[in-house]
Symmetry: C2
């Protein structure tokens, strides 16, 4: 149905044209994942080194955790130097924000494409839930970014991106725009389904955070959830039920 081709960690090509046979030779539609310029000192997508910082950064954070990450270690891992990395990102916190921003942008595209041909808002919502619970198969992205690792980072590190004393400043720089946009888009579906429901955004942000928490709990603090480890579908089932029951009129 569609196909995604590699370009760089932060851009990807989506061949929507593939759907129609006569268009097979048409040029690919490139969707550039635009990341706010204030999130980096120098666009990591613009150079080989920059892209490596991002993709290796994902691997290393996934491996040792965000607190254990240092630019020195990362530099060593990719046989570069600390100083070089500092030219791209002010500090490791900004790198994390960049990755998270990238993730939400990617999910947004996934969502946009996935609901493209759907009309029923309930169906759309089901797809949206699949997407943020990481149970939506479609749209393969062949980016050098390890998406599974990135998802694990989202689960276990993303609250650290906003739970900091600098939230307000960083927020003004647009760090969380992509997350907000995604949330709004899904929340709007709730409103389509039931215009009278008073807390669509609160419910979606709750569900998104819960998706991550429940996965994490199932692995590390299993007595906080009935979801069992490894069963991706269970989180989705739980949240789908929660959302639909909550918004019913």
């Amino acid at each position: 149905m569609w196909e995604t081709l590699e370009r760089s960690p932060t851009s990807f090509l989506v061949n929507l044209a593939m759907a129609k046979k006569e268009d097979r030779t048409a040029p690919l539609l490139q969707i550039q994942v635009k990341i706010n310029e204030k999130l980096f000192l120098k666009d990591p997508d613009s150079t080989e080194l920059g892209r490596k910082i991002v993709s290796e950064g994902v691997k290393l954070i996934d491996k040792i955790g965000f607190e254990e990450l240092t630019f020195k270690k990362l530099a060593h891992e990719m046989s570069s130097t600390e100083a070089s990395i500092y030219r791209y990102f002010e500090n490791k916190h900004k790198l994390l924000i960049y990755l998270i921003s990238w993730y939400w942008n990617w999910l947004q595209y996934k969502l946009t494409l996935a609901v493209f041909n759907l009309n029923d808002p309930e169906e759309k919502l089901l797809v949206a839930i699949k997407i943020f619970t990481h149970t939506y198969g479609g749209i393969p992205a062949q980016t050098p970014m390890d998406l599974e690792a990135l998802y694990r980072i989202i689960i276990s590190e993303s609250p650290k991106a906003y739970l900091t004393k600098e939230v307000d400043t960083v927020n003004q720089e647009g760090a969380y725009l992509n997350y907000k946009r995604f949330t709004r888009q899904v929340a709007d579906l709730l409103t389509e389904i039931n215009p009278d429901y008073a807390y669509p955004r609160a419910l979606i942000s709750t569900a998104i955070e819960s998706a991550h928490d429940q996965k994490y709990f199932s692995e590390h603090l299993p007595s906080l959830t009935e979801v069992s480890e490894g069963k991706k579908e269970e989180v989705r089932t739980f949240l789908t039920e929660m959302i639909f029951r909550t918004i019913q009129s």
Copy 2:
């Protein structure tokens, strides 16, 4: 109806006897908040200095944030020394875990007392929600611990206590027992109300985390929620509705 008297940051007296006039002179029932011994090197509740570390620690974390906290700063704040603090807590992360553990223990007592004379599980649940959304007035605790500051710490720092690579080790040391116990207790109420509901714990842990998130969002990322800043009751309304609708059969 009852009264809480000061003792130390980690223990408090609750005068249940006050309820009955004839018992006015009866000795107070002391409820010791028992904190797992593995969470500290030396019981901070056992000495003046230890208690000060805890109460000043709360103030300082609230003021500058957890990442900015250092034992040096804390020592300076309380005119003591770094080395002295290290005699009580292995590191600042353990201090945070201690505070959080203390908080959940305190909520547990609040809950136990508050539902004491209630029979209807739905009523009990309403009270439980009030308690974890911080909208339950009752039970004043006159502890030197600044409870409002502690609550702000819970909101903005508590995920950091479990989102770490050492979760599993720390978990084995019983760091999260109080949180788990509280969650279980509330989840059991859901089961009482509807024995067929499949995800009581997941729903309660979701609601508890959401209570914190929504408050945080309303202050710092308002487009993620309809809850407006400062309106405590709104989070409760949102979550009460969500929970009751979700568990209905």
